[in-house]
């Protein structure tokens, strides 16, 4: 019984991560402005990867290996937003039409 539940949870998490990652890919290719694309990529960077790692944690059970998986998630959640923040700063500083783009996005 427990095995079936575990399998179901792992499968659900993996499917969720695949769906989220496909959202991210779709957004990266579909959005027109760099900041929007950055937002779409951040979904894949944080939520989707954490779903995969969570699936791995559930699959291995709670032991030392799952602690290491958890460390991976922590590192990703610490570093990915910071790198996104830096890239967005760069976009704001170097993009010449940033105000026009912001206005267009708002409307």
């Amino acid at each position: 019984m427990l095995e079936i539940v575990r399998f179901a949870v792992v499968a659900a998490l993996l499917i969720a991560s695949v769906v989220l990652e496909s959202f991210a890919i779709f957004g990266v290719n579909r959005f027109r402005f760099a900041l929007n694309r950055l937002h779409a990529a951040a979904i894949g960077d944080t939520l989707s990867i954490s779903c995969v790692i969570l699936a791995a944690i559930v699959y291995t059970g709670f032991e030392l290996l799952s602690l290491k998986y958890f460390l991976i998630v922590t590192l990703m959640w610490m570093t990915s937003p910071v790198s996104g923040h830096l890239i967005s700063l760069l976009v704001v500083k170097t993009d010449e039409d940033i105000e026009k783009e912001a206005k267009e996005w708002k409307n």
């Binding site: 610490m78 570093t79 923040h85 830096l86």
Partner: protein
């Protein structure tokens, strides 16, 4: 006369003089007018539209192209998945029974080198000279980059060295979020790199990967805190000393190995108990030397391409 010399100096030190600014302004005005004229005429509009059609392919064949690219992607995914399904399972005993060389390595690496990580045993013992050449290639690459990109210090040539450290640090605009994150992350990254290097002979990793981790950590420190902070412990002199000493030690220890091994002399260094850090004879020091060279190389390449100096 004095004024013109001042203008020249100003231009050399990357300032701008008023005449130049005026010229740039008039130029941009002309460009804007031209653009307006172009937009007004219908022919130019048509040309632009056809260019857009050509570039973004919004014409007749668009659905065909999209469908074919999707089909190609699906084919690639299926092929890769089939390859992965066909691979042997992790830790299977009879994985590579056909290949004589790999069988020899798998069976005899532990007794010959004392390394539980077979890959380290191969690249630092059986193929030690190959790795020696690789680390020298890294060193030569850095040397050529230094020859091409390194700027002369300010005292020797006042005109070549335009950007001072302060200006660059100001351009960096130290980011509060990045610096407070790297306060936590930098020690962890360095520690992880040292762990990878020291455990090179007993677990996956080794000099190259650990050195790359340490070099990336140094680059993070530089981007978070600026040049002044990192110059406290890493300068051009540090790079020269560490890199050359590590390469010299590597070469001498490998020469020792070669002489004793080739002439069948008894090697006084014992292999130790496999699985502990101090095992595998010369593997641990060799790993450390390679790691030092790789870390210095990575950081030096980054800083030379960014600023032209340390």
């Amino acid at each position: 006369m004095k004024k013109s010399s001042e203008a020249f100096k100003n231009w050399l030190l990357s300032g701008s003089d008023p005449l130049e600014e005026e010229m740039i302004e008039t130029l941009s005005d002309d460009a804007a007018e031209e653009k307006q004229a172009e937009e007004a005429s219908p022919r130019a509009k048509k040309e632009r539209r056809s260019l857009k059609q050509y570039l973004y392919d919004s014409g007749l064949y668009r659905p065909v192209r999209i469908l074919s690219s999707v089909a190609l992607c699906v084919m690639l995914i299926v092929m890769l998945m089939a390859t992965v399904m066909d691979m042997p399972y992790f830790g299977q005993a009879d994985t590579l029974v056909d290949s004589e060389v790999s069988e020899f390595y798998v069976k005899h690496t532990l007794e010959h080198t004392g390394a539980t990580n077979i890959i380290t045993g191969i690249i630092l013992n059986f193929r030690g000279f190959d790795t020696l050449g690789e680390s020298h290639v890294l060193f030569i690459a850095v040397c050529s980059v230094i020859i091409l990109l390194k700027m002369t210090p300010k005292e020797e040539d006042p005109f070549l060295h335009v950007h001072s450290d302060d200006a660059l640090d100001r351009k960096l605009e130290k980011d509060l979020i990045l610096s407070s994150l790297s306060r936590i992350l930098f020690p962890l990254i360095l520690m992880f790199g040292v762990y990878i290097i020291l455990n090179g002979n007993i677990s996956p990793g080794g000099g190259f990967s650990g050195g790359a981790v340490i070099g990336a950590g140094l680059i993070l420190y530089l981007s978070a805190y600026g040049y002044k902070r990192i110059q406290r412990f890493f300068t051009y002199k540090t790079f020269k000393t560490v890199s050359c000493l590590a390469l010299l030690c590597y070469t001498s220890s490998k020469t020792f190995h070669f002489v004793t091994g080739a002439n069948d002399i008894h090697v006084p260094i014992s292999l130790g108990t496999p699985g502990t850090i101090f095992s595998g004879g010369l593997l641990l020091p060799l790993n450390i030397f390679v790691g030092l060279v790789v870390a210095c190389t990575m950081y030096t390449l980054y800083t030379l391409f960014r600023k032209g100096d340390f």
